[in-house]
Symmetry: C2
Subunit: 201 residues, 2 copies
Amino acid sequence: MKRSVVGVEIERLIQLLARLPGLGPRSARRAALHLVKNREKLLQPLGAALGDVLDKVSECRVCGNVDVVNPCTLCSDPRRDTTQICVVEEVADLWALERASAISGVYHVLGGTLSAIDGIRPEDLRIAELVQRVTTGGVKEVMIAVNATVDGQTTAHYIMDQLAENNVKVTRLAHGVPVGGELDYLDEGTLAAAVKARRSL
Amino acid sequence: MKRSVVGVEIERLIQLLARLPGLGPRSARRAALHLVKNREKLLQPLGAALGDVLDKVSECRVCGNVDVVNPCTLCSDPRRDTTQICVVEEVADLWALERASAISGVYHVLGGTLSAIDGIRPEDLRIAELVQRVTTGGVKEVMIAVNATVDGQTTAHYIMDQLAENNVKVTRLAHGVPVGGELDYLDEGTLAAAVKARRSL
């Protein structure tokens, strides 16, 4: 802003909001204004909610999920099959799988993928912790549910190598046509994978 | 979410973030996760910034702008021409005009537009306050800078009627081709207005 019409307080709020994924400088301004206009209904509760999360939420020391208890609800749930570990890149992926009720086992959040470009090495991810969990015993299957990107696949192969000496089954998610997806809109790689992995009816 | 993987604290944060303009349920989840992952660098400062704004920022009793001082910086600026009042719908419009350094006078924020559909009546807007400011004297021009929408124009005409008895010049922003705009992409209404208001070179 050429002339500062907004006080430093609002300016700072706008700058912080703009750092949230999905909000640019323009939408951060709109969001800040919306907050100022809705003091009681939104600004005050959001401040309180942030304080609550800051006070209570931490990273699970077992799987890397975020929760108010540590180990997290999923790790402490006795109905969960602890012999099966599902490895994901981020907590958001864990949430997505949980929404789908797709996993009966427990999770392991890597915190990203290996990346030569971004300089992310194995020691920057929670890979040693995964190997440790598997080595400590009782784990029968490690399901690698990383994204189907180049970095994701590199990471998957690295993890597979690290687990090679352990007597554990390593699996990955199936590739194929998304449910409800139209063939015409799919890329060649997915179609080729779907044909290769075809099942008899 | 079918099964609640996230604690009530994070769930509440997601719900509040989803009420910000520009963030849907999905991006609110991503934003919440981003906050949790960046406790020191983002979550804590954002909470503090919200508290600051809550404590210090209020609506200017003269023009309706939001600021840490009341009357606001613009209303108290002696270099501002108080004989010219620029009427806008929202504070965001005021900020936009200030960024353009387009107004040398002072502002009056209506807080919206008249709308039969949304049930917004003249008494829901700061129109009486505007008439009061004009009646109290010294104002030579009221520039109505509402949006060029149907509701905006309805509001402009209503304000013009309310000010008819006062000896004050009422103006509106020019319609025309946006600077840098290509004719091919403009609607017929704008083009017709631009031709009608053509100027000799």
